[in-house]
């Protein structure tokens, strides 16, 4: 019988924090911007410049630590990681090695296999590097330091995961925590969340870990899943062939869907880490931790519990809505204005999800305001517009966040409630469709549907179909 293998996976997740300014200077962290416009002497490594820690970065890191059950390091320091590369203006990165801000935490994940705890080894703070642009045409390289000094935290897990599903569940869980804390937008594609996968395999039942590799350049859940599966197979093949797995760093090629070795353990650089003498040690008091804890926002699991208590909506809806902090925020604000949790949930669950899917958008990209959604709900409730007009209006709102009240006035979409006008149209429809009238009078109940449709069409949709139905029945009875 073939040997059974177990995959052992640990993750290093880099998260860009959404502070307004950089970690060691006052420059903007805004994405985009002309090259080297969000820079100053500090983040371009000018001689004589000195770093000063952005307190917000520290508090965000502590908030993440508290949300993942970590111990907060009371005496913490920054270290310099020395390596030469042009995207790194000082040729050292300010990071944390010896005394990281958070240690020994955990998060709970859930997969088809059930619940499981994944340990957090540590969380440390560091600065991001700039961006190199290789101009093949001019045969030169340019460097943009806008990203240099943007704050990052690196969340290092224990090697507790055993499958791609667990890895995805862990990443989703982290993303939820970070988004709910409001410390990062966690967009893999834009690089504000990046995961490196450490993977080894071992024969099922053995204690000893196999030799691991580190996989870099994974920028979607899909590529993470493919890379894990591919690397597991590659390592098993090596072992089956009686060969060794080499400890190395590999790079994932998303187009070819395969990885290649970047550097082996032997040519690993010596980073010569040492405490940065330009930054003083940080002493964290109990009071400070308590203050951060008291400011922690409601996390997803707490929100789900509360929705169950407060709103009469299905668990499935709660799961979807709280799956995005942004969507949950819109939901709650809409409910607060309209007092209609079920209707608010329906708009999000049906029309919003459909439009997001059609437009290939994420829930984070939702642009319409809760105020406008609440207005739309009210307009429908009060039968100012009918449901099909409401859907039309919603599509425009989804696209441009228009005020539905103003929009329907401008476009004249209000339902016509004038009985005489309706009656006149109905008469015309009856005149024009003798076959259907006859069918109806001969007992074909369904034929009335066609007549309602024709009337609605003639009214350009601006009628209450219920009212049309009633008038039709009344007038046909008199035939």
């Amino acid at each position: 019988m073939a040997k059974q293998y177990e995959t052992v996976i640990g993750l290093e997740v880099h998260v860009e924090l959404s502070t307004k300014t950089k970690i060691f200077c006052g420059c903007s962290t805004a994405f985009g911007g002309a090259p080297n416009t969000h820079t100053c002497p500090v983040c371009t490594g000018m001689p004589g410049s000195l770093p000063v820690l952005n307190k917000q970065v520290l508090e965000y890191a502590m908030a993440v630590g508290l949300a993942t059950d970590c111990a907060i390091t009371r005496y913490c320091k920054f270290d310099r990681k020395n390596y030469f590369y042009p995207d790194n203006p000082q040729n050292y990165q300010i990071s944390q090695l010896y005394l990281p801000i958070c240690k020994n935490g955990k998060v709970e994940i859930e997969t088809a296999e059930g619940k499981k705890t994944v340990g957090i080894h540590e969380i440390h703070m560091e600065e991001d590097a700039g961006k190199l642009i290789h101009d093949e045409w001019e045969d030169c390289s340019l460097v943009d330091y806008n990203r240099s000094g943007v704050p990052l935290i690196e969340i290092v897990s224990e090697p507790d995961m055993r499958s791609a599903e667990e890895v995805i569940a862990y990443l989703e869980k982290l993303r939820m925590i970070l988004q709910y804390l409001g410390v990062s937008d966690c967009k893999l594609q834009e690089g504000s969340m990046r995961a490196d996968v450490n993977l080894s395999v071992r024969e099922a039942g053995t204690e000893k870990f196999g030799t691991r590799t580190e996989m870099k350049n994974l920028n979607s859940f899909r590529s993470i899943k493919r890379a894990i599966e591919g690397e597991r197979e590659r390592q098993i093949e090596l072992l089956e062939a009686g060969r060794e797995v080499l400890q190395e760093t590999r790079r994932w090629d998303d187009n070819k869907e395969e990885s290649y070795a970047m550097r082996s353990k032997e040519d690993a650089q010596d980073y010569r880490y040492f405490p940065d003498p330009d930054l003083v040690p940080i002493v964290v008091s109990d009071e400070w931790i308590d203050e951060i804890r008291s400011r922690q926002p409601e996390l997803r699991s707490e929100k789900m519990e509360r929705y169950k208590r407060e709103y009469d909506i299905p668990d499935y809806d709660i799961d979807i809505i709280t799956g995005s902090k942004h969507m949950a925020d819109i939901f709650e604000a809409t409910v607060a204005i309209s007092g209609q949790p079920k209707k608010a949930a329906n708009w999000l669950m049906v029309e919003t999800l459909r439009l997001l899917k059609e437009n290939d958008m994420e829930p984070e990209d939702i642009r319409f305001s809760p105020e406008n959604l609440a207005k739309l709900i009210k307009l429908t409730d009060e039968k100012v517009i009918n449901s099909s007009v409401a859907k039309e209006v919603f599509e425009v709102m989804f696209d441009r966040n228009i005020n539905p009240q103003v929009y329907i006035e401008e476009k004249g979409l209000k339902t016509v409630n004038d009985q005489n006008a309706l009656r006149k149209t109905v008469e015309e429809v009856i005149e024009a469709n003798p076959r259907s009238v006859e069918d109806y009078l001969n007992g074909k109940e369904k034929a009335i549907g066609f007549l309602v449709g024709q009337t609605m069409k003639a009214m350009q949709g601006k009628a209450d179909p219920g009212m049309v139905n009633e008038i039709l029945k009344l007038m046909l009875r008199n035939k």
């Binding site: 410049s49 000195l50 030469f84 003498p277 930054l279």
Partner: protein, 490 residues
């Protein structure tokens, strides 16, 4: 009227009293530079074009009552490792031969706020690494007392410029004695304040945890006045300390009655030149006669200070100097193939031998497998040295000793044997390791007429005790003289 003979505070007072103008003072300095620079080479850059215009501007602001500072209008020289906006800042290295900073260091800004007139940038050992100012890429500075000798270092250009009356005072930086030792060799006053007292923002770092900017001046009064202007709490420097006791001139009091002064026996032992020892003990005797209680004691650990210092300073330097890679500013080699070749050639050609030696030493002590044995151990020694000083300061107000084992060596003597040169820092470097303030005051000359410095060391934040004792000593000592005066005698 010999303007150049005045001290900085005297000149400022006379400018204020309209006895002399800022332009006249500036012209006197420019004339002095013109006459002496070819002998001494104190400066790397003199702002010949800009200085008169700035002098006029300062004069106007003094006349309008806008500038009332105690250094208003006084010409000052800045060590070339402090950034000056728009003015070449080289660190005496080929690496920064074309570097013009986009901002000024906080210490320079503090001087400018007070109305001081920046003349130019002084020569130094490359990146402040050296004890002689001979490692400069712009030629060595010569000691104005004897041109065949070094001025000391690394702030040799600053100390020599003050001694040669090519400025009224200067800024130096002190990582292991780089202010005090050249001050001692050049017969001027130099002070390294408590770590954190003067902002390091804009000081191009050598050993960040040890570097501190301080004044080099003609006398103790100037020293106190300048330090008062330099000291500030700077939010741009995380290691800057808020102090509300920086009114240093209030300590210019002629009184050491009952002051307890300890002389470490370790500072008087083997290796100390007999004439230096005699002069230092004579100075101690003067303070004793003025009422101080002076005694010898065992400081301990002195022999570990040099290896600990060279480990820590080199480690920090190896990292601090990584940014000089030829990419963003500074020197880039002409021909190269690929990135790594460019790094290698730019740095090999841009840095001098002493800088490379320390980068290699520092990289070694931080490398994996050696970190614990060297760097961590050095940090432990540093902590023990601090403890030894704490212990000493529980018994003494001040510690007194020599600044350097000898007077200024001859040019070319020191670099041949770097270990010997490093050992010359023995009395100054513990002060940096412990973050303490210390001053060098001229206390005599040897048989060849070379100045000898007396070192007064205080506990952290006790600059005032140092100033008070130094001021009392200086009054008792009388006029020390200048090389110009000596030469005029002949």
């Amino acid at each position: 009227m010999d303007i150049l003979k005045w001290t900085a505070t005297e000149l400022a007072a006379k400018i204020k009293n309209k006895e002399v103008t800022v332009m006249e003072a500036a012209q006197a300095v420019l004339d002095s530079i013109e006459k002496k620079e070819r002998h001494y080479n104190c400066y790397i850059t003199v702002d010949n074009e800009g200085i008169m215009k700035r002098a006029e501007d300062i004069q106007r602001r003094i006349d309008s009552g806008e500038l009332t500072g105690r250094l208003a209008g006084v010409p000052v020289a800045i060590k070339d490792n402090m950034c000056t906006q728009g003015m070449l800042t080289t660190c005496a290295s080929r690496m920064l031969g074309n570097f013009i900073p986009v901002f000024s260091s906080e210490a320079v800004l503090n001087l400018e706020k007070e109305g001081a007139l920046i003349i130019g940038k002084t020569n130094m050992d490359e990146f402040a690494m050296g004890s002689t100012t001979e490692t400069s890429a712009y030629g060595e500075t010569k000691n104005p007392w004897d041109e065949s000798r070094v001025p000391g270092g690394s702030s040799g250009g600053s100390a020599a410029a003050v001694a040669a009356q090519e400025c009224f005072f200067a800024l130096g930086s002190d990582t292991g004695g780089s202010i005090r030792q050249p001050a001692s060799y050049c017969g001027v006053v130099g002070m390294k304040p408590t770590y954190g007292t003067v902002s390091r923002y804009g000081l191009i770092a050598y050993g960040s945890s040890l570097d501190q900017i301080g004044p080099i001046s003609k006398d103790v009064t100037d020293c106190a006045a300048i330090l008062e202007v330099l000291a500030s709490h700077d939010k741009k420097d995380s290691t800057s300390i808020f102090r509300n006791d920086t009114d240093f001139t209030s300590a210019l009091i002629e009184d050491v009655q009952g002051m307890r002064i300890g002389i470490p026996k370790d500072y008087l032992g083997e290796g100390l030149d007999a004439e230096v020892k005699e002069a230092v003990l004579r100075a101690a005797q003067v303070l004793k006669e003025k009422g101080a209680v002076v005694e010898e004691f065992d400081l301990s650990l002195v022999e570990y200070a040099i290896p600990a210092y060279y480990t820590i300073a080199a480690a920090e330097a190896s990292s601090n100097l990584e940014r000089f890679d030829g990419i963003k500013y500074g020197y880039r080699t002409r021909d190269y193939e690929g990135l790594h070749n460019m790094y290698k050639k730019s740095r090999s050609e841009g840095f001098g031998a002493e800088v490379k030696r320390r980068i290699m030493l520092g990289s070694f002590v931080l490398s994996s497998g050696y970190y614990d044995a060297y760097y961590l151990k050095a940090l432990k020694v540093k902590a023990l040295i601090k403890k030894a000083f704490d212990e000493a300061f529980s018994r003494y107000d001040l510690i007194l000793g020599p600044v350097a084992p000898t007077t200024a060596p001859r040019l070319g003597e020191s670099l041949a044997d770097p270990i010997k040169m490093y050992l010359g820092d023995i009395y100054t470097i513990s002060v940096n390791l412990a973050g303490l303030p210390a001053m060098s005051v001229p206390c005599g000359k040897d048989s060849q007429g070379l100045p000898i410095g007396l070192q007064l060391i205080g506990n952290c934040f006790q600059e005032k005790k140092i100033i008070q004792a130094a001021y009392t000593y200086e009054k008792a000592r009388g006029v020390f003289g200048t090389p110009t005066a000596e030469k005029e005698k002949v």
